[in-house]
């Protein structure tokens, strides 16, 4: 029962969508029992490739060999039956159902013909316990945080007795604590002989756990190498195909006068005890673990949620934003944490999304002037180097990084004084990330104030002038740029 060392062999895979060649003659192989990284910029074709293996993209050209046999799944079920299990990039959970049922989705346990609820609950509980996750297995998924949902997603994938586990950016929504859980899971699976295909934009992880790496660029296969054969810069180089500038283009500039002061701010039962001051020209980081209440904090500042205690002073004046619109009028802006649902109207064009907030600027005599819309949108597309076929393209066809740039563009157009970015680089490739950091730097150079919520320590450390740390819905610490380090931040979160 000698098996070949190669579990997957891809030969000349090409996948076309109307107007795009998402995969262009991709050939490489994956070795059994290894952790194989798949990297590339947004839109490089990583997810498309995964969907070929998962039986979702069924109309591709080329051939896949799985365990030496020709493999062409026609639907997800066939792929699963063959022992391939996938954690997709977007959460794929039945939101209205319980954690237990989602962990077994499409794969329930039966006693005879009937669903074995007891057995499933027991197994779910055991699984969560063994991963040291505090999660009620009876809770409904729609009450969970994103990170918790991702854990459920991972458990679901583990529940198939798979030979190959494919994970498409599983860590994008995780903070360090869940990341450890994820690595623990991977470790166990690899020990039991499972092959892992791992996609991530985070190089630390890739170098930490992966053994092989495949690079895609613009749908083309660039190279497949053992991890030892690459360095971080060389990997980035392969991905973007050009010399990258600095990863964190930080320029420390002199802080101006206070712009926004928050004292003792809280919302009963949700978060509390938040104090900070944001100056002109400052990037303020808000760090913390998942569920720290950071999103709630900024929502309260912006009038999306109400405030029950504390004060907000803005440009020397005590204010309370009654609703988000009022906040916008005062000069606040928000790049929300969920780009897909909150950031953009997916079926609107690039130009419409860009002009959505500052419609006043394109309206003359009550009528929207198309020429103005084009002018503004064109300007920002150029300024932010948004890669799009045109300003009339619907944003849903843009890559993640470019979508995020569109979100930022709409607040740039509004010319706000305080711009809050909630996890702005989640799921965004290294090139686009650095461009977004560059935009932040440009903003503070103009005397604006920037607040960045992030669960990624490196970017907090790389970009922020001051950092506040939240833990279990309270502010627990405050660090200045000089004192910033991963250990210091973590020390507050325990």
């Amino acid at each position: 029962m000698e098996k070949s060392d190669i579990i997957f062999q891809l030969n000349h895979i090409t996948q076309e969508f109307p107007g795009v060649k998402a995969l262009d003659d991709v050939s490489f192989s994956v070795r059994r029992g290894r952790i194989h990284a798949l990297v590339g910029e947004n839109g490089a074709g990583k997810s498309t490739l995964i969907k070929v293996l998962a039986g979702i993209n069924t109309h591709f050209q080329g051939e896949v060999f799985f365990n030496g046999q020709s493999f062409h799944p026609k639907n997800p079920n066939e792929s699963q039956q063959m022992g391939i299990s996938v954690v997709h990039q977007e959460l794929k959970l039945a939101e209205t159902l319980s954690v237990t049922e989602n962990m077994f989705l499409g794969n329930l346990m039966y006693k005879g013909k009937l669903v074995d609820w007891k057995g499933m609950r027991k197994k779910a509980r055991e699984m969560l316990q063994s991963l040291h996750v505090e999660l009620d297995e009876n809770a409904l998924v729609d009450t969970l945080s994103v990170a918790q949902k991702q854990i459920v997603e991972i458990c679901k994938a583990m529940n198939h007795n798979c030979q190959v586990l494919i994970m498409d950016e599983p860590s994008a929504v995780l903070t360090d604590r869940e990341l450890d859980i994820l690595f623990d899971v991977i470790d166990r699976l690899v020990k039991s002989g499972v092959t892992i295909l791992y996609i991530s934009h985070k190089f630390d992880e890739i170098f930490q756990i992966c053994q092989d790496v495949t690079v895609l660029r613009d749908g083309k296969h660039i190279d497949t190498l053992p991890i030892e054969a690459v360095t971080r810069p060389s990997l980035i180089n392969m991905m973007v195909g050009r010399e990258m500038g600095m990863e964190y283009p930080k320029e420390v500039i002199e802080l101006g006068e206070p712009l926004l002061q928050v004292e003792g701010l809280g919302q009963q039962g949700v978060f509390g005890g938040v104090d900070f001051t944001l100056h002109k020209g400052e990037i303020l980081g808000i760090s913390g673990l998942v569920g720290a209440g950071r999103t709630e904090l900024v929502k309260a500042i912006l009038g999306i949620e109400h405030i029950t205690e504390g004060t907000i002073t803005y440009k020397g004046e005590k204010i309370v934003n009654k609703n988000f619109k009022e906040a916008i009028q005062r000069g606040f802006g928000l790049v929300p944490e969920s780009r897909k649902e909150q950031g953009l109207v997916q079926m609107f064009s690039v130009k419409e999304n860009i002009c959505m907030v500052s419609m006043d600027k394109v309206i003359e005599g009550g009528v929207i002037r198309n020429s103005k819309v084009k002018e503004y949108a064109g300007e920002y597309v150029k300024k932010l180097r948004i890669a799009t076929p045109g300003i009339d393209t619907e944003v849903q066809y843009l890559s993640g990084g470019n979508q995020q740039k569109v979100v930022i563009a709409k607040w740039l157009m509004e010319d706000c004084d305080v711009i809050i970015l909630d996890e702005p680089t989640r799921g965004i490739d290294v090139g686009a990330k650095s461009e977004i950091y560059g935009l932040m730097t440009e903003l503070v150079k103009k005397g604006k104030g920037v607040i960045m919520i992030s669960s990624e320590m490196p970017e907090i450390i790389g970009m922020c002038d001051n950092v506040i740390i939240m833990h279990e819905r309270r502010m627990v610490g405050k660090l200045e740029r000089e004192e910033l380090s991963q250990q210091k931040i973590m020390s507050y979160c325990t």
Binding site: N77, L93, E95, T96, L105, E305
Partner: protein, 318 residues
């Protein structure tokens, strides 16, 4: 653990709120009319609920998948007409006629299912189209003339008793138990919830979402046929007004019963309580001699209030 309990209590109270509503309305009416709580009247309420509640099983399952069927009422009508027509004018024996009615119901359901699941036509449109087709077909078959005086043997289905319980009530209860069981305890049932809770997720988890959707429509058609046969035998006649607006009453019953209109949530048994609630309301209105015009207004108000209470608690910021 504690959280688990309170969550459970919350789920429970949501699932059985409709039962509470039924109890409340019973109490109110029993004060208002001395006849209300008489055994015969209570039996009436259940009897009058039966045919629409059977349809509400199907509508409830469809709502759980995130869809709707506007043709249910005319499926009830059409199957009843076919049933009566075959016995009366083709001298079929009742069993054969019932089988044909069931086949017709399944075919109508399959047509809906095919159009919605495989052709991707929005349910509202596809089932509205089927509604017109079923209505036309029923009129063509009966020439818009009621078919009455059906064989005595079928009267058992609509007006018979087993013990002291009328057959339609028994049928309704059995069907509810069977389908509630299927929905909770079988692969198919859980798949139905899964496609309502997240169609894409279900698809990615290897569930044949189109087939599940299709079969729910077929089941719904089957239930319409059962309802149509029972109604026809209860009225000892088939007329093109039979089953009129059942789709809406079933929809309302299911939604009062706590089945979430966005799909994926709610217990099927709620559709039973919701339907009983509706009938009870109607029964009470007659009993209190409320002017029919005002009954319309009150029905609207009660519907909005019943759903509104829950919706208001869960309202969103946008």
């Amino acid at each position: 653990m504690e959280r688990g309990f309170s969550a459970k209590l919350k789920t429970f109270s949501k699932d059985y709120m409709s039962l509470v509503a039924v109890i409340i309305i019973f109490i109110v009416f029993s004060f208002a009319s001395p006849y209300f709580l008489k055994m015969s009247n209570v039996m009436n309420i259940f009897l009058q609920t039966a045919t629409v509640a059977i349809v509400a099983i199907g509508q409830g399952m469809l709502i759980i998948t995130g869809q709707v069927d506007l043709s249910l009422g005319y499926q009830v009508c059409l199957t009843g007409c076919v049933f009566a027509y075959m016995m009366k004018f083709q001298n079929w024996n009742p069993v054969a006629a019932i089988l044909l009615a069931v086949v017709i119901g399944c075919v109508a359901g399959a047509a809906n299912g095919f159009l919605v699941a495989y052709w991707n036509i929005p349910a509202f449109i596809a089932t509205l189209g089927l509604q017109y087709i079923c209505r036309g077909a029923a009129k063509i078959i009966t020439n818009a003339t009621p078919i009455g005086n059906l064989p005595k043997s079928i009267s058992f289905l609509g007006n018979g008793y087993i013990g002291i319980v009328p057959v339609p009530i028994l049928l309704m209860l059995v069907l509810f138990i069977v389908f509630a069981f299927i929905m909770e305890k079988t692969r198919f049932g859980r798949n139905v919830y899964a496609i309502g809770g997240g169609r894409e997720a279900a698809f990615y988890a290897g569930i044949n979402t189109k087939a599940v959707q299709f079969w729910v429509y077929v089941i719904s058609g089957l239930l319409c046929a059962i309802s149509g046969v029972v109604l026809t035998s209860r009225l000892n006649s088939a007329a093109i007004t039979n089953g009129n607006l059942y789709e809406f009453d079933a929809y309302i019953g299911a939604s009062i019963g706590g089945i979430s209109l966005t799909g994926g949530k709610g217990k099927l048994i709620g559709a039973l309580f919701g339907s009983i609630f509706l009938t009870t309301f109607f029964n009470g209105m007659t009993m209190l001699n409320v002017d029919p015009f005002w009954q319309d207004v009150l029905k609207g108000v009660v519907l909005i209030a019943a759903i509104g209470l829950d919706a208001f608690r869960n309202r969103k910021t946008h």
